[in-house]
Assembly symmetry: D2
Homo-oligomer: 131 residues x 4
């Protein structure tokens, strides 16, 4: 999994948002985000787009973990609980995969293991190898 | 619409991502994003989460434009065309609204007015006024 | 468009639900459903799954209208207004299309042209021709 | 759970589609569908809308299982595997619930316990009791 991890160090947006990749295996990824003031929205809670960004990284890593390029086709997110401080975690698991398409479920939790949001994503799988 | 615009200057995440709010009216908002290196993903195209962030701001502004607080319940995004430079625009329009719930469609386009992504979002409408 | 219309006369579930295909052109379809007692749910309003079925037919027809087989990958529906009698219409329009994937928006309306639901769908496009 | 089961015997569309409710408990429901010729689409596989209908019933039952009326706000479905005969099952579990909103995940499987589709749904919870 080292080539995959190294590949994702090039993800400039994930870096800009402050996301930390914790673990990768085939069809799986886990990441964390320490909530900072710049993650908050106008009412002082963690921005939905910051939560989406965290979920999207593990979606990308898990779907590219088989060694070929996967591109996101669509994604949906449900926001279940507001939060404003501490550390958030996202964990992706693979729901289905064939030669062309694969789908993933991502759970976003806080340090108390409460569910903050759920995310579903689908990718189109290309033939190109990840180098 | 000035109180709404002013309210959203407090959105720290939108500021961190570099989103510029262009226009607001009842049930409507438009914003732009100048693509910078930090918006790119590991393969050098604009990150899905950066596009989501742009769409999410106009979703939030349009749904809060009636003067009471609206919180996002869920959102889905379809990624239609890859892009890596220039300026992106997002425009929200209100699809439906009752006392409790409202839904919005957001179109994300590039400078050539090509459709980059579409976004659907639903909010729960609280009684609290936006000050 | 006659071969497409003829092809969809084989759709047994659409027939079972009572859906009537009204119009087809490239990337477009329109259908109607006359509400009958068997379309209602436990509280006496039109069942969400009946509305989904109507939307799904125009999604299928529009996405297969280019003459090659398209299979649904995912779909989402938002329920905006309850209804219990009369005639419903669904109209599909193509949002994007490339060699592999295409996406569609479907509006479901009543006879007063009020929006009852909105539906988004994505298909994977095969090489097989529709005969 | 008997009042809930009895309540759903009034669901005329579920009956029309041939769905059989198997089990109900708080936040949970399970149902089955024996595939008949009228469930097939134009290419002879089970219609996406038939699968949606099966999933939608357990979504409705699980979300109404707390004894107050819940109405569907939106739902999304991903189609993972085609099928054309045998028996399908849908199982709903509650992902989150507060006074106003609740969300559910539904897994649709075949007799070999292969995943056919996944479904996510959100409801708005009313104060009205189910009688």
């Amino acid at each position: 999994m080292e080539p995959i991890k190294k590949f994702f160090t090039r993800d400039k947006f994930a870096e800009h948002v402050g996301i930390e990749l914790l673990a990768v295996s085939e069809g799986y990824a886990r990441a964390a985000l320490d909530i900072k003031p710049y993650h908050l929205n106008a009412v002082g809670i963690v921005h939905g787009a910051a939560i989406f960004s965290l979920a999207d990284l593990v979606f990308a890593v898990a779907s590219n973990s088989h060694g070929t390029v996967a591109v996101a086709v669509n994604a949906s997110i449900s926001f279940l609980k507001a939060t404003s401080s501490g550390r958030l975690f996202a964990e992706a698991s693979e729901v289905s995969r064939n030669a062309k398409l694969a789908s993933y479920t991502i759970r976003i939790t806080n340090e108390q293991e409460q569910l903050i949001a759920t995310f579903q994503g689908m990718v189109y799988r290309k033939k190109d190898k990840i180098v």
